[in-house]
């Protein structure tokens, strides 16, 4: 078995980045520290007993460790790194799901997290009712959903089933509807976790085309993926995260090369 080696972050700053476009996502010295009890205490009874015995211990889990980065308008920015590197935590910060323990997160524009596709879908409600509920959860107003309703059903190819309860849908249909609602209104910032694999091949093509469309229209995209080919294909810039720190950040080809180089070395050891 190999001992995992903690890679050293690159210290040299990158002069290659030219600040041309305005930043839309800014992380300033962001730290997220989960305070995890050494043993999992979830009840008041246990807590009271441990407290009295003085056996309450916590350990800190640094999900992000003084991370600073800037994503500019219209950029496709990739996040790579092994599991537990802090990628998802970073996305959550941008999606406003959580606040950093310290540091500052600044986001300009409406964020659409594709992590939340189909959030709140209820099996007993019809497709139509679910579109409204899901849309409202994503922060659309009723009027906005009404305006885009036809587009959503068209895109999801769902006209025959829209008034049937969701429990009668196949999982592919549910995913299509979720994607259509999530991308009905162009966001300023789109968060994509992992490669989109929604529905069949034809719909995957269609959803990829929709994201390209957003990109061409000037949306900023944050992409997390384990497929280096996808990252290289789609992104302009990328950051390699490991143990909550940014190892390398900059031009996507360079970051991916460094990461793969490092992974090879680690595997050989």
């Amino acid at each position: 078995m190999n001992l995992p080696i903690v890679p050293e972050p690159e210290t040299a700053t990158l002069a290659a980045e030219v600040a041309v476009r305005e930043p839309v996502v800014v992380l300033e010295d962001v730290t997220v520290r989960y305070r995890v009890p050494r043993e999992r205490i979830r009840t008041f009874k246990e807590f009271a007993i441990r407290r009295l015995q003085g056996r309450l211990q916590f350990q800190d889990l640094l999900a992000l460790d003084h991370v600073s980065l800037e994503v500019r308008k219209g950029e496709v920015f990739g996040l790579i790194g092994p599991n537990g590197a802090g990628k998802t935590t970073l996305l959550r910060l941008v999606a406003r799901v959580m606040r950093p323990t310290s540091g500052r997160v600044w986001v300009k524009g409406r964020v659409a997290p594709l992590l939340a596709m189909g959030a709140g879908f209820h099996p007993e409600l019809t497709g139509r009712e679910n579109v409204f509920l899901n849309g409202a959860l994503l922060g659309y107003t009723r009027r906005q959903i009404e305006e885009h309703f036809e587009w959503i059903v068209d895109f999801a190819e769902m006209w025959d089933f829209i008034d049937a309860p969701l429990r009668t849908y196949s999982s592919g249909m549910v995913a299509r509807l979720g994607f259509a609602v999530a991308t009905a209104i162009m966001p300023d910032i789109l968060i994509v976790d992992e490669v989109l694999s929604v529905g069949d091949i034809a719909f995957q093509e269609k959803s990829a085309a929709r994201i390209r469309e957003f990109r061409e229209a000037g949306a900023t995209i944050l992409l997390v993926s384990h497929s280096m080919r996808n990252v290289e294909k789609m992104c302009d810039r990328a950051a390699w995260l490991d143990h909550g720190r940014i190892m390398v950040m900059g031009d996507v080809v360079r970051v991916v090369n460094k990461y793969e180089e490092y992974m090879k070395v680690e595997q050989k050891l």
Partner: protein
């Protein structure tokens, strides 16, 4: 295919100095359509699942009323004019409180998956639980009025003022729901303790018995229970057909608003912790 752009640009700054309680209120207002959709979901999901669906909302307190009426008139030999109407008017107010606060707590404490994937002002789920409860409360006024009519009591004109104590009850319930679920982030068993507490609380509130059967020395202590005043003002208007005194209005309104504010500030002050705990 068209690309639709939303016109307004929002800026989110994690270190903005807006007070959490105010920011949450602003966001809850922005998501008001969601509150309506959540209430509609809860009601229609319930309605669709069974034919009786919404009817259960009315049948449940009716069943309890029948049992309690038999127990009290036959077993304990309590003589009271129109006991079924008395007990039913208290029960529907109590059921609203118990069910809506429990629903609010459950949606906040167990709704974790959604909260880690998407930003939604969390209070929206508590508010919608109260909204669903209010609709059920209004529905259960129907069997109450029927029972009273059968007993020979026509609807009182004071019924028109009933929305006010209902609003007070709703604010109080929301406040309690927010308080308990905030503690529930840290200790999950508080949620279970609350179920037991509710049972004891119901017997400490004059729901199934009138307050004046208690000796004066006990009554003083029972009056410290906020629910006494909230249920009382509701029952006066709906069942007795009398206007509560200004003092009663003031006390129940003050307790309702106070509890709501306490819950709101406590909850919004700790709401960030939700994401860290789940």
């Amino acid at each position: 295919m068209s690309v639709n752009t939303a016109s307004t640009t929002v800026v989110y700054d994690s270190s903005a100095k807006t007070p959490a309680a105010l920011e949450e209120a602003r966001q809850a207002w922005r998501y008001r359509d969601l509150i309506v959709f959540l209430v509609r979901r809860d009601i229609t999901a319930r309605y669709k699942r069974s034919v009786l669906g919404v009817a259960w909302t009315m049948l449940n307190p009716l069943g309890m009323m029948i049992i309690l009426s038999i127990v009290f008139s036959q077993v304990f030999r309590v003589a009271m004019v129109n006991y079924p109407g008395f007990v039913l008017s208290g029960l529907i107010a109590w059921n609203f409180f118990a069910q809506a606060s429990t629903a609010a707590i459950n949606s906040l404490v167990w709704g974790g998956d959604l909260f880690t994937r998407i930003y939604v002002p969390r209070s929206v789920f508590a508010i919608s639980a109260i909204g669903t409860g209010l609709i059920n409360l209004v529905l259960s006024m129907v069997p109450l009025l029927v029972v009273m009519a059968v007993m020979g009591v026509p609807p009182h004109p004071t019924l028109l003022l009933a929305p006010l104590p209902m609003l007070f009850l709703a604010l109080f319930t929301l406040g309690i729901g927010l308080l308990i679920s905030t503690i529930g982030i840290y200790f999950i068993d508080v949620v279970e303790m609350y179920a037991i507490l509710l049972m004891a609380w119901m017997y400490l509130t004059p729901i199934i018995y009138p307050l004046d059967i208690l000796p004066e020395t006990v009554r003083v202590w029972v009056r410290l229970n906020p629910m006494v005043h909230l249920v009382d003002s509701f029952r006066m208007l709906v069942f007795y057909g009398i206007l509560p005194s200004p003092a009663t209005w003031l006390v129940s309104g003050g307790l309702a608003v106070g509890t709501f504010l306490l819950g709101w500030f406590f909850f919004t002050g700790k709401a960030d912790e939700f994401a860290y705990r789940t």
